[in-house]
């Protein structure tokens, strides 16, 4: 029944092989991957680990188990389970296969025991997830996926370079604390930073996530960034720079989120905001802070997934998620509305919902370390996240003015997936000890005391009061169909524009050159010297050229 020492990714990869042949109701069999895989992990984790794969001289450690990798392992099984239920109705087997491969790659990365294995799964994450964006098959989604792949693979290349350098310096590939010192460490840090959506590296996320299929965005929101968080917690815990990066990540996206019209893009920005809390926690590096960071990652996968699921349901039924053209959907999508409200309450950290029990750990850890300014920034971000993800998303989609849209309620399997997400959000909020029991470090934190509950309620209710007041005064910015420029402007606008200029200049130069060559060739032709012809002659000539080039290289290298 159970197989010890079976790396969890293998289960997902095997099921991915069968996914294309399972049609109709048989597709439900795919659920066995996370269910059996998760149970197998739970039953055998205690006596598993140390599975290696000999590859020439290298020994890859494919299955390393400790409490940290186990927490993320369970989380990814839950996320894959929810995502598979959510996508049961999807007939496009590309999404089923790439979803399973993607979830498997994430599991491979968190159970990897050495940096090279991490790198392999890091690249697999990039490639498999891109298919979830390509699967939307609209021109802008395809272009966004292309940009996404370039940036993701770039992150992989940086990581590989860093890993190789680190191996040369230390002689070991083991995945352990690195610390931010030296070029190798910085390269790995930046590689992780790209997938973790550090400021200025974040636009792949806000660019591609809103353009994926409903299922695709759900998968995407769960895995890539959380693998990066896991690796940061392993390799750079207690790095002070991360506190400031995290604080910036919590604050800047909320401004974008307020003025963004595409509600899935609003969620993408708020995903960065939530990652900021985790990065901050990792930066503080105390047991409480690290526990808070990984607990928040756990909760975020579920509540952010829930919010993406509700918006995916709206996208499926209405065809778009523009705040400016939605409203009043609660009339025909009441269950989706309720699920969205649960997700909104969780991300806003309302007491009795999951966000409350994990975000507060990071905040408490910051106060313990006397990081007052950063704490105030995170408090501002907490108010802000309630404002855009907690109020704006449900309000503009399901309430606000009646848009006249009367879409059907979401498909049954989507409702089921959302219900599971919503139940988990409330269950963890009410019984935080269930999650706390899984946390890797020593933990005696208790979120429900009088002070904390009261202050959080004050913060949230008065943020809501601000929304009500601004709306009543007509000061709240209306939802407008627009694009807000972000860092991506550099590579979507400036780079193509300047690139165009360079290409044009080169093209002009080439035609001028060709013309000159033609003139010279004509002059030669007039002299009517017979040119060498025949395959052998041409081959010899080419070889001669190669020889000359090689000689030049050798001479050059000798001189230098």
């Amino acid at each position: 029944m159970w197989i010890a020492n079976l790396p969890p990714f293998v289960v997902f990869f095997v099921f991915a092989l069968f996914a294309p042949v399972l049609k109709g109701r048989l597709r439900a069999l795919l659920l066995l991957a996370p269910v059996w895989g998760g149970l197998n992990l739970a039953m055998t984790a205690a006596d598993s680990g140390g599975v290696t794969w000999q590859f020439t001289d290298l020994i890859l450690d494919l299955y390393y188990v400790d409490r940290l990798s186990l927490l993320f392992g369970y989380l990814f099984h839950i996320a894959a389970f929810i995502a598979l239920i959510y996508s049961l109705h999807v007939k496009d087997s590309v999404q089923q296969v790439s979803g399973l491969l993607y979830a498997g790659s994430a599991l491979g990365a968190v159970f990897a025991g050495d940096m090279l294995t991490v790198f392999i799964f890091w690249e697999l994450l990039a490639v498999t997830s891109a298919f979830l964006i390509w699967a939307r098959r609209t021109p802008e989604a395809i272009r966004a996926a292309n940009r996404y792949v370039v940036i993701q693979v770039l992150s992989g290349v940086l990581m590989l370079t860093g890993v190789v350098m680190l191996y040369q310096q230390t002689g070991t590939l083991r995945l352990a604390y690195i610390g931010l010192e030296g070029t190798a460490a910085w390269l790995i840090f930046i590689a992780l930073g790209i997938k973790c959506a550090f400021p200025f590296f974040h636009t792949w996320l806000t660019d591609a996530y809103p353009l994926a299929t409903p299922t695709g965005t759900l998968y995407l929101s769960a895995f890539t960034t959380k693998v990066a968080i896991y690796l940061l917690a392993r390799t750079f815990p207690g790095e002070p720079l991360l506190i400031y990066i995290g604080a910036a990540m919590t604050c800047f996206p909320i401004f974008y989120a307020v003025i963004e019209n595409d509600l899935r893009k609003v969620l993408a920005y708020s995903l960065i905001n939530q990652l900021g809390f985790m990065v901050c926690g990792i930066g503080v590096g105390t047991a409480l802070a690290l526990n808070g960071a990984v607990a928040h990652a756990f909760n975020d996968v579920i509540f952010k997934g829930l919010l993406f699921m509700t918006m995916g349901a709206v996208l499926t039924r209405v065809g778009h998620v523009n705040g400016s053209d939605l409203g009043g959907l609660y009339k025909t999508m009441p269950r989706t509305t309720v699920f969205c409200l649960v997700g909104a309450a969780s991300i806003s950290a309302f007491p009795l919902f999951s966000g409350f029990v994990s975000k507060s750990m990071v905040m408490a850890a910051l106060l313990e370390q006397d990081q007052l300014i950063v704490w105030l920034m995170l408090l501002f971000a907490s108010a802000g996240v309630f404002h855009h993800a907690g109020i704006k998303i449900p309000f503009f989609a399901f309430f606000a003015h009646d848009s006249g849209l009367r879409p059907k309620e979401a498909p049954l399997n989507m409702q089921l997936a959302m219900a599971i997400g919503a139940i988990l959000c409330i269950a963890i909020g009410v019984h935080p000890e269930w999650l706390y029991g899984l946390l890797p470090w020593q933990n005696d934190y208790s979120p429900y005391d009088m002070t904390h509950t009261l202050t959080q309620l004050q913060l949230l209710f008065f943020s809501a009061l601000a929304f009500v007041w601004l709306n009543k005064q007509g000061l709240y910015p209306p939802e407008l169909r627009s694009v807000n420029i972000d860092v991506e402007w550099f590579y979507r606008r400036l780079l193509p524009a300047s690139g165009n200029r360079v290409v044009n200049t080169l093209v002009n130069a080439r035609s001028a050159f060709r013309q000159n060559v033609r003139i010279i060739a004509d002059q030669f032709a007039r002299r009517s010297t017979p040119m060498p012809t025949g395959t052998v002659t041409i081959l010899t000539r080419r070889m001669a050229w190669v020889f000359i080039a090689l000689m030049l290289l050798v001479i050059g290298s000798l001189l230098l």
């Binding site: 802008e140 802000g384 009367r406 913060l459 008065f462 943020s463 601000a466 009500v468 807000n484 093209v507």
Partner: protein, 97 residues
Amino acid sequence: MSHQHKDDGLFDDPRVVTWILRVFYGICAALVLVDFIVHRHIYTAVEKIPAFYALYGFVACVLLVFAAKGLRTLLMRKEDYYDAQAGQNQKTQEDDR
């Protein structure tokens, strides 16, 4: 409800909305009152300000919205801002051929 269109939902009735808002204002007021009655733990100096969290939440959100509105003048472009560029590229490529 009989005078209303059958398509109307619960929240189309202004009386319902008024009541929800009244309850909401009531809770807000209660939360501030409780702040003066209950002794809450103080970890940093700023928390000594009465109803600090309520004030901070309100001011933060108002500032956030005004700042974001201001940013719109700087950041907002037409919906096809990037696509227009892409379309132009495509056109030049076709011209090249």
